[in-house]
C-alpha cells in the first residue's frame, strides 16, 4: 500500500487507512452507471499505469483524433505561453465520456489555463485539442459551434447581472440555438429546478447568494444541453458554508453520467466524485490516476508536498521550512484531512 521509496517518513499512513475504505465505496458508486461506457475506450482506471509513472505521457494514439466518440476531450502537445512565461509545457490528455476528471495542483501550475484552453478562451500557443473529435484549435474551426457542446462554470460565476436567473438560462438558447422562447423557458426552468432554484427564477444575480449564483451558472450551462462540463474552481469564491450546495449539484451531475473536467481545491470532493485525479505542477501533468492513489498515495514528491500543504495547512508556518520535511507530524490526527462528510 505504501510503496513510496522516495520519502522516508511518510506522515500519511496514519490517516489513510481510516477514511479510505469508506471513500472507496462512496467514490466508486457514481461511476457504476457510466462504467459501461468506459468499456469502449481505455478506461481511466486502467490509465494510471502509464499516467502515474514519473513524467510519463500517455502514448500518442495511432490516429489523431482517435475517432472514438467516447474520447470527448483529446489534448495533444498543448502549450501555452503568456509573453515569455510558458504556463503549459506540453499537455497530453484524453477525457472519456462520462468520466469525472479533477485537476488539482498549486496556484500558477496552469490548471485553470488548461481548462480555458479546452474551449479556447485562451488561444493555445501550440498543440491540438479535439472536442468530440472536432478540432477546436483548427484555424477554420467554428469555435462558437463547438463551444455549444461544452458548458463552462467560472470561479467568479460570471452571471449576466442585467438578466434574471431565468433569462440568464434562456439568452443563449434563444440567440445561439434559436430555440423558441417558450421552449427555452421550459428548459431553463427545469434546469433551475435541478439546481434547486426554481423559486428564484425571477431574481437578479445581485439578489442571490454566491452559492445560489454559482448554481444558476451551472443551470445556465446545462440549459445548452452540453455534452460535457468544464468547472474552473467553482467553489473557490464561495463562503465555506455555501460550498456544499454547489458541490452537491456537481455530485448529482456526475452521478447522472455527465462528462466533467473540474479544476478544484476541494480534495474531499475530488476523492469522492472523481474517476481520475490529475496533479499538475509547473505546466505539466505530474501524476494522474484514481483519486485514492493520487490523493491517498501520491508517488511524487511534488504531489506529496502539495497535498500536505492543502490538507493540513495549520501545520505550515509561513516563511519557515515545512515541518513535515524534517519530522513526522505533531499530531496523528489531521483535522482537515478529507472525510466522506
Amino acid at each position: 500500500m505504501t510503496d513510496n521509496p522516495v520519502v522516508a517518513p511518510d506522515p500519511h499512513p496514519t490517516v489513510v487507512p481510516g477514511p479510505t475504505p469508506g471513500l472507496d465505496g462512496a467514490g466508486s458508486s457514481p461511476t457504476v452507471d457510466s462504467g459501461s461506457s468506459f468499456a469502449a475506450g481505455p478506461g481511466p482506471t486502467a490509465d494510471p499505469g502509464s499516467g502515474a509513472g514519473p513524467g510519463a505521457t500517455p502514448g500518442v494514439p495511432a490516429r489523431i483524433p482517435t475517432g472514438d466518440r467516447n474520447d470527448e476531450i483529446q489534448i495533444y502537445g498543448l502549450r501555452k505561453s503568456f509573453g515569455q512565461v510558458e504556463v503549459l509545457k506540453g499537455i497530453d490528455l484524453t477525457v472519456h465520456r462520462g468520466e469525472v476528471v479533477c485537476v488539482i495542483g498549486p496556484s500558477g501550475s496552469g490548471k485553470s489555463t488548461l481548462l480555458r484552453c479546452v474551449n479556447v478562451l485562451e488561444q493555445p500557443t501550440a498543440g491540438r485539442i479535439f472536442i468530440l473529435n472536432q478540432e477546436i484549435t483548427h484555424r477554420d474551426a467554428d469555435v462558437d459551434a463547438i463551444r455549444t457542446l461544452m458548458g463552462m462554470v467560472f470561479q467568479q460565476f460570471n452571471l449576466f447581472p442585467h438578466l434574471t436567473a431565468l433569462q440568464n438560462c434562456t439568452v443563449a438558447q434563444t440567440n445561439v440555438l434559436k430555440k423558441p422562447a417558450a421552449e427555452a423557458k421550459e428548459i431553463a426552468l427545469s434546469n433551475l429546478a435541478k439546481v434547486g432554484l426554481a423559486d428564484r427564477a425571477d431574481a437578479y444575480p445581485a439578489q442571490l447568494s454566491g452559492g445560489q449564483q454559482q448554481r444558476v451558472a451551472i443551470a445556465r450551462a446545462l440549459a445548452m444541453d452540453p455534452e460535457l462540463m468544464l468547472f474552473d474552481e467553482p467553489t473557490s469564491a464561495l463562503d465555506p458554508e455555501l460550498v456544499g450546495d454547489v458541490l452537491g449539484v456537481m455530485r448529482q451531475l456526475a452521478q447522472e453520467g455527465m462528462t466533467m473536467m473540474v479544476v478544484t481545491h476541494e480534495m474531499a470532493f475530488a476523492r469522492e466524485v472523481a474517476d481520475r485525479v490529475i496533479f499538475m505542477d509547473d505546466g505539466q501533468i505530474v501524476e494522474q490516476g484514481a483519486p485514492d492513489e493520487v490523493i491517498g498515495h501520491p508517488t511524487h514528491d511534488r504531489t506529496r508536498a502539495f497535498l500536505r500543504r492543502v490538507l493540513d495547512p495549520t501545520h505550515i508556518v509561513a516563511g519557515q521550512a515545512d515541518p513535515f520535511d524534517a519530522a513526522p507530524p505533531p499530531s496523528p490526527h489531521h483535522p482537515r484531512f478529507p472525510s466522506a462528510d
Binding site: N119, L121, D144, A145, R147, T148, M150, G151, M152, F154, Q156, N158, L159, F160, P161, H162, V171, A172, N175, V176, L177, A206, A217, R220, A221, M224
Partner: protein, 278 residues
C-alpha cells in the same frame, strides 16, 4: 485622554495652549463673523430697487413670457434632444471603432475624437451654418434644426464616445467569456451582454453630458435664425437689446434651470442607485 493632553510637559509653560476643541470653535466663530460682515456690507451698499429694475422688471417678465418664451423653450429642447440622439449614435459607433480589432478604425476614431474635442463647438456650429453658403445649392434638411443637430451632435458624439468606451471597458472580462463559452459570437456577446451593461454604467455620466449639451445649445444664438427658430438665449438677448434691460435674458436663463435642475437631481439619484448596486 484630555488629562493626558493637559499634562504634556510643554516647552513654553508661560503661554497656555488652547485645546484642539477650543481652537476649532474659535475658527468657526471667525468664519461666522466674516460671513456676517459680508452680508451687512451687501445690505448697506446694494440698492435693492435698482437691482429689481435691471434684472427683474415685472412688466418685462410678463412681456418675455408672452407666447414666444414657450416656443424658445421648445426650440432649446429640440436642439438639445436632436443633438443628443445623434451624438449618442455617433458616440456608440466611435466607441466601438476605438475598441475595434481593425487598426485603421481605431486610428480614424481617435483622430475624430481628438479633433472634435479640441475644437470649440462654436467653430463647428459656425462652419455648419456656412456650409450651404460655401457649396452652392447645398441644403441641410430640417432647417434650421438640421445644421444644429449635426454640428452639436458631432461635437458631443466625440465626448460621449469616450464615456461609452469607458463603460464598455468597465464591463468585466468574465462577462464576455461567459457569453462566448455559451457559444455566442463576439458581435452577439457585445449586443446582448456587454452593451446593455455598459449603458447602465454610463447613464449617469451621459445625463451629465445632456445637461452640458442643454447649456451648449445656447451657442445657436450666433446663427442667423428666424424668430420661429430662436432658442432661449437668442430670444432673451433680443428682447434685452430692445428694452435695454436685463430682465428678459435673466428670465430666459432661469428657464435653463427648469431643464437642468431636474436632470441634476436625476443624475444624483442614478449615481446613488449605481453605488448601491455595486
Amino acid at each position: 485622554m484630555a488629562e493626558l493632553l493637559t499634562q504634556v510637559p510643554g516647552d513654553a509653560p508661560a503661554r497656555k495652549r488652547m485645546s484642539p476643541r477650543k481652537r476649532a470653535l474659535c475658527f468657526r466663530l471667525v468664519q461666522y463673523a466674516v460671513l456676517l460682515a459680508v452680508v451687512v456690507l451687501a445690505v448697506i451698499n446694494i440698492n435693492g430697487r435698482q437691482i429689481q429694475r435691471v434684472f427683474f422688471r415685472l412688466d418685462l417678465i410678463d412681456e418675455t413670457v408672452g407666447v414666444h418664451l414657450l416656443t424658445a423653450l421648445k426650440n432649446t429642447l429640440a436642439y438639445t434632444a436632436g443633438s443628443f440622439v445623434l451624438g449618442l449614435l455617433l458616440g456608440t459607433v466611435l466607441a466601438l471603432m476605438r475598441l475595434s480589432q481593425v487598426r485603421p478604425y481605431r486610428w480614424l476614431a481617435t483622430v475624430y475624437v481628438e479633433f472634435f474635442r479640441g475644437v470649440p463647438a462654436l467653430v463647428v456650429l459656425l462652419a455648419f451654418s456656412m456650409l450651404p453658403m460655401a457649396f452652392k445649392g447645398m441644403k441641410i434638411p430640417f432647417e434650421p434644426y438640421g445644421a444644429v443637430w449635426t454640428a452639436l451632435g458631432m461635437v458631443v458624439g466625440a465626448y460621449m464616445s469616450e464615456t461609452i468606451r469607458a463603460g464598455i471597458q468597465a464591463v468585466p472580462k468574465g462577462q464576455v467569456e461567459a457569453a462566448r463559452s455559451l457559444g455566442m459570437r463576439s458581435g452577439m456577446a457585445m449586443r446582448k451582454i456587454v452593451l446593455p451593461q455598459a449603458f447602465r454604467i454610463v447613464i449617469p455620466p451621459l445625463t451629465n453630458e445632456l445637461i452640458i449639451l442643454t447649456k451648449d445649445s445656447s451657442l445657436v444664438y450666433v446663427l442667423g435664425l428666424t424668430v420661429s427658430g430662436f432658442d432661449l438665449t437668442k430670444y432673451g438677448r433680443d428682447l434685452s437689446f430692445k428694452s435695454a434691460n436685463l430682465t428678459p435674458l435673466v428670465t430666459a436663463g432661469l428657464c435653463y434651470l427648469v431643464i437642468t435642475l431636474p436632470l441634476t437631481y436625476l443624475v444624483r439619484r442614478l449615481e446613488a442607485r449605481a453605488k448601491k448596486e455595486r
